[in-house]
């Protein structure tokens, strides 16, 4: 199942946010979207996942999703979006409640998702009891439980401290290597993009346009080694120089409310 | 009559001015007339009229107030008979002065001009009494500063505390204050300005039941006649005699008003033996209230009296 961004434009009131964005994410591919603050990354992801209707163009799917997938396009949110009144297990089970699964299958799916995210010991904990990292793991477990074809991740690590971020990044690498699941990974962080993605879509400042699509030269499986990391540092550096001027502009923007 | 007993609910206050109702109930005159009467007691005149309007009671017996007239003016009830009157020789409502005001020269009702006087509510019978007094002595109502305090006890307290100069109080409430020397008595409303104080009234549904109203009024009149002939006939200096003949009736009144017989005897409202209504006075009341803006314009006594039942003076 491929996801196609087909000449998508969007505006909020008088604010042009996205301008004619087109690209395709092939089945199983991991695509990072980077761009300066406020360039419309989150808006684009909402449109791709069907949570927002674009003003022009459309998001479409080609090919059937895997038959076992309960929710082919599944979000992972920056702020985790856990129900604070539910335990970790209940949160993971939440999207399965109205699915076609039997109670037993549901339990199995929850257990499996918790195991894959190393959360089995925390199933009865409430979100407030957990560190940010564990909360996002629960968010990921919830996403895995519906067996997505494509994960839509909106800065899933940006609310975490650097060490936790590093730990979860290692987990993402592992999880994305495991199955045939693809991902769109929106981020500000070029290191994350370079370490996770097959290709990187670079958006311009608002209104967001596709400035560049960059392939990462090292195969995903081989990026763990220190040497590979040193090898990718120049790419990261170059990407930074590509967007640095726009990042400065975005940062110096004043909101007149 | 047991086979044709009709039920009726009567709204009254626990005041001696409703004495005939208590007598008729206690001595079974209602029952004799084929009525099974339930008395509903209220703590102010106003709610009796409202309850008659809303159908919570079938018949109301209480003082005429602006509120009652306004309800009647909108056609929700009509007056069917008279009840008590203020009349010379029958002390019921008095003018009372605080000690301080008395010292300062408030000695007679005439002196009330320019004073602070407590009443229950605007448009109440006290208010009207003061209006009559003003007319009688030729000063303006607005010369007095009226202070509405909602309840008798507030008025008594205000008078005792000397935050007002004077108040109108029923003799039952004032007796103890007078005896304790905490207030000074100036005169009686009945002596100064006689008027029709209270009456009997009913809503449209009851009025349509001619049988019921007739029976009820006849039972009431039987009691009124007895009360008049036995008790009122003995009144001298505002006091009824307490003897073998009057005692049973006074005891009945005392039972319903929660007062000892001695107090009941000193607190006998005048009630017409035939239940007549002073229609002229009622019309005057309405005109006065309308002039003050307490009653809506556009109706007179004619419009709110059930002519089929009322015996005019």
């Amino acid at each position: 199942m491929d996801l196609i961004a087909d000449h998508i434009s969007h505006r909020f009131g008088t604010l042009d946010v996205l301008d004619d964005v087109s690209f395709t994410v092939a089945a199983g591919e991991v695509v990072a979207i980077v761009g300066p603050s406020g360039c419309g990354k989150s808006t684009l992801l909402s449109i791709l996942g069907g949570l927002l209707q674009p003003c022009a163009g459309q998001a479409s799917l080609r090919g059937a999703p895997p038959s076992e997938s309960l929710n082919p396009l599944t979000f992972v949110f920056q702020d985790f979006a856990l129900l604070p009144w539910s335990t970790v297990a209940e949160n993971v089970e939440f999207p399965l409640l109205h699915s076609r699964l039997s109670a037993q299958e549901r339990r199995a799916a929850v257990d499996d998702a918790l195991r894959r995210t190393h959360l089995s010991d925390f199933r009865a904990a409430y979100p407030k009891q957990l560190s940010g990292g564990m909360r996002q793991r629960a968010g990921i477990a919830r996403a895995l439980a519906v067996r997505p074809a494509l994960l839509l991740m909106d800065e899933p690590l940006s609310a975490l401290d650097s060490q936790t971020r590093e730990l979860l990044l290692e987990d993402f690498v592992r999880l994305l290597a495991e199955g045939s699941m693809g991902a769109i990974y929106v981020t500000h962080n070029l290191e994350e993009a370079v370490r996770l993605a097959d290709r990187i879509v670079v958006l311009s400042r608002r209104p967001g346009r596709v400035r560049d699509v960059v392939s990462v030269p090292v195969p995903r499986g081989e990026r763990g080694a220190l040497a590979a990391r040193e090898h990718l540092l120049p790419l990261q550096n170059e990407l930074w120089h590509l967007i640095r001027a726009e990042a400065i502009d975005a940062e110096r923007e004043v909101q007149h409310a | 009559h047991a086979d044709q007993m009709e039920k009726a609910r009567i709204g009254v206050l626990r005041l001696s001015s409703s004495a005939p109702v208590f007598i008729a109930q206690d001595k079974g005159y209602f029952r004799d007339a084929g009525l099974e009467v339930e008395l509903k007691f209220f703590d102010a005149a106003q709610p009796v009229a409202v309850a008659t309007t809303t159908g919570d009671v079938d018949v109301g017996i209480t003082a005429f107030t602006a509120g009652l007239y306004n309800l009647a003016g909108k056609g929700t009830l009509k007056i069917i008979a008279g009840m008590s009157r203020d009349r010379p020789g029958y002390p019921l409502i008095g003018y009372f002065a605080s000690n301080k005001a008395y010292e300062a020269g408030l000695k007679t009702p005439k002196d009330l001009a320019g004073k602070r006087i407590a009443i229950t509510q605007v448009g109440s019978s006290f208010h009207y009494s003061l209006g009559l007094l003003a007319d009688k002595y030729g000063f303006k109502l607005s010369d007095m500063k009226l202070v509405p305090l909602q309840s008798m006890s507030n008025m008594a307290a205000a008078l005792k505390g000397e935050t007002v100069d004077a108040a109108l109080l029923p003799v039952s409430a004032a007796r103890k204050l007078m005896d304790d020397g905490e207030v000074k008595h100036l005169g009686w409303v009945g002596d100064e300005t006689p008027w029709q104080v209270s009456g009997v009234f009913a809503g449209p549904k009851t009025l349509a039941d001619k049988e019921l109203v007739t029976r009820l009024l006849s039972a009431l009149q039987r009691a009124e006649r007895e009360y008049h002939d036995v008790v009122l006939a003995t009144v001298k200096d505002g006091h009824a005699a307490i003897d073998d003949k009057t005692k049973p009736l006074l005891a009945i009144i005392g039972k319903y008003t929660n007062l000892p017989v001695e107090q009941v005897a000193g607190n006998c409202a005048y009630i017409d033996p035939q239940g007549r209504l002073d229609v002229k006075n009622v019309d005057d009341q309405i005109k006065w209230l309308q002039a003050q803006g307490f009653a809506d314009k556009g109706y007179d006594a004619e419009a709110i009296i059930a002519k089929d039942y009322v015996k005019a003076d």
């Binding site: 087909d6 092939a26 069907g50 | 305090l149 507030n154």
Partner: protein, 277 residues
């Protein structure tokens, strides 16, 4: 050295397969008010009400029609009685509100800032707050006589407790990090109170004003039950006593309008003082 991918895409998979749009699933849950509809609904309600009153056999005593109410209002207005009532009540409300608010702010700040005041203050406030002020009215009359004093005191009392609570909640809600920041620059206590705690508590204090305004409005009606000759509360109670329902409704409309006006005023005040939010 960037390894540009082909931007004009030739994705894997059968390109002849038809693409279907992603289904939109983000609808709803964004109810916005349209001022328009609100006014329309009010107008419609008034029309139905008027029709019910003038066509169907509803006794106007039970429900005076909007036109009758408007007429009553108009007559009150041109006779000048209205202004008299409103101005007297306004005076009572202002005096009571000002008194209650001033003392509430002082006590609220004390509770918010001092450990002793907090320990003592909170138990007193929580014990006395739930007492309906109307029940205390007789005592106030006993203590203060039947003039203006007990009326103003009733309002002040009601306002005081609400204000105290909203002020100390506001002080408690001032972000501790701002206070720590000020301390880290050796800013003196008084300056911290004036320039950090006061503005930080202001949103909660203003929100409290919204409550105390409605409390004051409610209490002025209760307070004017006893020994008042003028005042919008007296007027309403009198109309109720005299069963003049059109007047009563007119009074209620005035009270409602007054409440709305005060609410508006506080919104303006908020927009002005809290523009930084």
């Amino acid at each position: 050295m960037l390894d540009r991918a082909d931007v004009t895409e030739s994705p894997a998979g059968d390109a002849t397969e038809v693409a279907r749009p992603v289904r939109f699933r983000g609808a709803g849950f964004t109810p916005a008010t349209s001022r328009h509809a609100g006014w329309l609904a009010l107008a419609a309600a008034l029309a139905v009400w008027q029709a019910a009153g003038s066509l169907a056999p509803v006794n106007p005593l039970f429900l005076p029609t909007p036109v009758a109410i408007a007429r009553a209002l108009y007559q009150l207005a041109i006779s000048g009685v209205l202004w008299q009532h409103v101005s007297v009540s306004l005076l009572r409300i202002s005096a009571g509100w000002a008194l209650g608010t001033a003392s509430g702010i002082v006590v609220g700040f004390a509770i918010g800032l001092s450990r002793i005041a907090r320990s003592i203050g909170i138990s007193f406030v929580s014990a006395l707050f739930p007492i309906p002020k109307i029940a205390v009215l007789p005592l106030l009359i006993l203590w203060l006589g039947i003039g203006e004093a007990p009326k103003v005191a009733t309002i002040a009392l009601g306002v005081f407790f609400s204000t105290t609570i909203s002020v100390y909640s506001g002080v408690d809600a001032v972000p501790r990090n701002l206070i720590r920041m000020a301390q880290s620059f050796d800013v003196p206590f008084a300056t911290i109170v004036r320039r950090v705690i006061w503005p930080g508590a202001l949103p909660s204090i203003l929100a409290g004003f919204r409550i105390t305004a409605s409390v004051a409005l409610m209490l002025v009606v209760s307070a004017e039950m006893i020994g008042a000759e003028t005042g919008i509360g007296t007027f309403v109670l009198q109309a109720g006593n005299l069963m003049q329902t059109d007047q009563l409704m007119a009074g209620i409309v005035i009270l409602s309008a007054f409440g709305l006006a005060v609410g508006k005023l506080i919104s303006l005040l908020e927009a002005r003082l809290l523009h930084w939010r």
